[in-house]
């Protein structure tokens, strides 16, 4: 009895060639992740280094920069100011932006295209110019600079962004569903609550995250339109003259970066729950793309 024939193994070159795209993709993703997150990870790492100098070798583990940051009244106040401004700006821009997006995508009226183009144009104006324009405006109308003026000018830049994101969500969402809901006896409110909002939920979440981040991280507009209560980025820039302040800035920035990552993760979990029937992966994609897919 002769032995069963053994299937010849594929040549090594062929196997490598077949795996090459996978390996290349993995390397590309790794390099992209390193470029995107490397600086933030370094910042977090050095916030625990027992040295005022941001450099290797590692001098030992410490939490004193966090303690020092917590003990710095101006750091605490500036973070709190930024949180308050960004939260209010986020809520206002979501409400106003959703209303504007609804009007622009669902209603027909003369000049609709011009209005849509006009509000979108703010997105391409540099924040520096918007900050100076805001300063000159408030100066002319004799409004003292404060966190309120900062908030108003932040709203100027976050509102069009929210409109753009939510409009994209609304355009993608089929109007047949709205009409079906109305045909089945739903009131306008019920149609909005049970049909529209769940569909544009990921867009709302994405818009909230972007609006909050834009407001919280903004330096240019905050500097020029702020008064004697400073936001976090303005405080950071004002103390960077001395390099020994860097570790404290690192510590506060690490906490903020961590909180922002948590917020995005929280939003994703929330979307996953709200859109359980659509699958978590879709919710995540919608969240990351503002439902523009």
């Amino acid at each position: 009895m002769s032995a069963a024939p053994v299937a010849p193994s594929r040549p090594l070159g062929l196997r490598v060639r077949r795996r090459l795209p996978g390996i290349g993709s993995a390397l590309l993703v790794a390099a992209t992740m390193l470029i995107l997150f490397g600086p933030v990870l370094m910042l977090a790492l050095f916030s625990f280094n027992d040295s005022t100098i941001i450099s290797l070798p590692w001098e030992g583990f410490t939490t004193r920069w966090y303690e020092q940051a917590w003990d710095t009244r101006l750091a605490r106040e500036s973070v709190l100011n930024s949180l308050v401004v960004a939260s209010i700006v986020t809520v206002l821009s979501l409400v106003l932006g959703t209303m504007a997006a609804w009007g622009l995508t669902r209603l027909r009226f003369p000049g609709r295209g011009a209005i849509a183009g006009l509000h979108g144009s703010v997105l391409v104006v540099p924040w520096l110019i918007i900050g100076v324009a805001g300063l000159m405006f408030f100066s002319e109308v004799k409004v003292p600079l404060s966190l309120r003026t900062v908030g108003v000018m932040h709203l100027v830049v976050t509102f069009p962004l929210v409109v753009a994101i939510i409009s994209a969500g609304l355009v993608r969402f089929s109007r047949n569903l709205e009409e079906a809901a109305v045909d089945l006896g739903a009131s306008q409110w019920q149609m909005l609550r049970y049909v529209v909002l769940p569909q544009i939920g990921p867009s709302l979440a994405a818009a909230s995250i972007f609006a909050f981040a834009w407001s919280f991280n903004n330096f240019e507009i905050s500097f020029f339109t702020g008064g004697f209560e400073q936001t976090f980025p303005v405080w950071v820039f004002s103390i960077l003259r001395q390099s020994e302040n860097l570790p404290v800035v690192n510590a506060v920035s690490t906490v903020i970066a961590f909180a922002q990552v948590l917020a995005v993760f929280g939003a994703w979990r929330l979307m996953k729950r709200l859109t359980r029937n659509r699958g978590g992966d879709d919710a995540l994609k919608d969240l990351m793309t503002g439902a523009v897919r």
């Binding site: 001098e59 101006l74 100076v132 100066s139 820039f237 003259r241």
Partner: protein, 362 residues
């Protein structure tokens, strides 16, 4: 090394010009000072201060707040005088603004400052740089009370170079150290240091010919340098890694290295140290002058200067030294500044910038 200013900030000066608020841009006489008796009383009302964040910390201002409980002290921060000038020119209102000699030109050019009366500052004559023309306007009026400074000399690795053998900017160009030298990447200091190395005496006021001569010299020696350090952090890294054993740099940077265990010393070169100088000035539409003078008096006092020195600055008032722990006195001693050349914005500042760009580009 302080953060350099963005081109965008310069553009902002142009953009902000039409928005001048009431009172700005108007040349005014010396701000009237309160009487001696009045100066002794606590300040009242509201005082609006516009300054760098690191010179208006709670540690610095709490004693002043305690001494003036009825004063509403408001602080706004900036990251450069050009940004401050843009904001003031745009209509932001403040009484006192922090100015620095190397970047105050936008403030003076737009008449955003109001001269002050030095007789109302008790310790004015004791302060470093108080007799310098750089704290005065062209008419000789005092524009600001010097409150902080940062000398710029040589940083030497004491394990690689025997202490005492380096004492001149010419050593930066000595072939003995070729490939192990760094130069701070700033047009003012790089050209200033190089100008002094070739024997020019006014590094902050070079003529166009002198700038050209300095540029040629620097370009011919560029191979001498291991790196052109863009920041304090990169300078520290170069010393820490051992790549560099000699560089120009600030005393504060050297102190940071020493605290981190790097064997270096800061050496004041025999040609003279360069130094940035900052202080407090009145804006041209300052309202609460009495409180402003009281704040300036506080900043000039030995007590405030001792607090400033503990934060890493030079004590501008020598009276502060006896209030400091012995280990801090040498580093805070304003005698370091006796031969200092204030860093100011040169008449041909654009030529400085262009020359440095050409050197960097090779």
């Amino acid at each position: 090394m302080r953060p350099r200013l963005s081109i965008a900030a310069v553009l902002l000066l142009v953009l902000a010009a039409p928005g001048c608020g009431d009172g700005y841009g108007v040349v005014r006489g010396v701000a009237p000072a309160p009487s001696r008796e009045e100066l002794q009383k606590p300040a009242t009302g509201t005082l609006r201060v516009f300054a760098y964040g690191d010179t208006t910390t709670d540690e610095m201002l709490d004693p002043f707040r305690e001494a003036n409980p009825d004063l509403d002290l408001k602080i706004a921060s900036f990251n450069s005088n050009k940004a401050a000038a843009a904001k003031l020119a745009g209509g932001f209102e403040a009484d006192v603004v922090e100015v620095c000699t190397d970047e105050m030109e936008p403030l003076t050019a737009r008449a955003l400052l109001r001269p002050l009366d030095p007789d109302a500052i008790t310790d004015f004559d004791r302060l470093a740089f108080s007799d310098s023309d750089d704290v005065r306007d062209v008419a000789g009026n005092v524009l600001f009370v010097p409150a902080s400074a940062g000398p710029h000399g040589l940083i030497v690795n004491t394990e690689e170079i025997e202490p005492g053998t380096v004492d001149s900017y010419t050593d930066l160009f000595d072939p003995l150290y070729a490939g192990n030298v760094a130069l701070e990447s700033s047009d003012l200091t790089a050209l200033g240091v190089s100008a002094m190395a070739i024997g020019l005496e006014n590094p902050m006021d070079l003529s166009l010919d002198e700038i050209s001569e300095t540029e040629d010299f620097l370009a011919s020696k560029i191979g001498q340098f291991r790196a052109l350090a863009e920041s304090d952090a990169s300078m520290v890294n170069l010393f820490k890694s051992g790549e560099v054993v000699l560089a120009d740099g600030g005393r504060g940077t050297a102190q940071d290295m020493i605290e981190d265990g790097i064997a270096v010393e800061w050496v004041p070169p025999k040609e003279g140290v360069l130094s940035w100088v900052c202080g407090l000035a009145f804006t041209s539409n300052a309202e609460n002058l009495d409180a402003g003078y009281k704040l300036m008096n506080y900043y000039a006092s030995p007590q405030a200067q001792a607090i400033s020195a503990e934060s890493g600055f030079i004590a501008m008032n020598p009276g502060a030294l006896e209030l400091l722990p012995p280990e801090l006195r040498a580093d805070a001693d304003p005698a370091t500044l006796d031969t200092a050349i204030p860093q100011t914005q040169p008449e041909f500042s654009e030529a400085y910038a262009r020359a440095w760009q050409e050197v960097e580009a090779g």
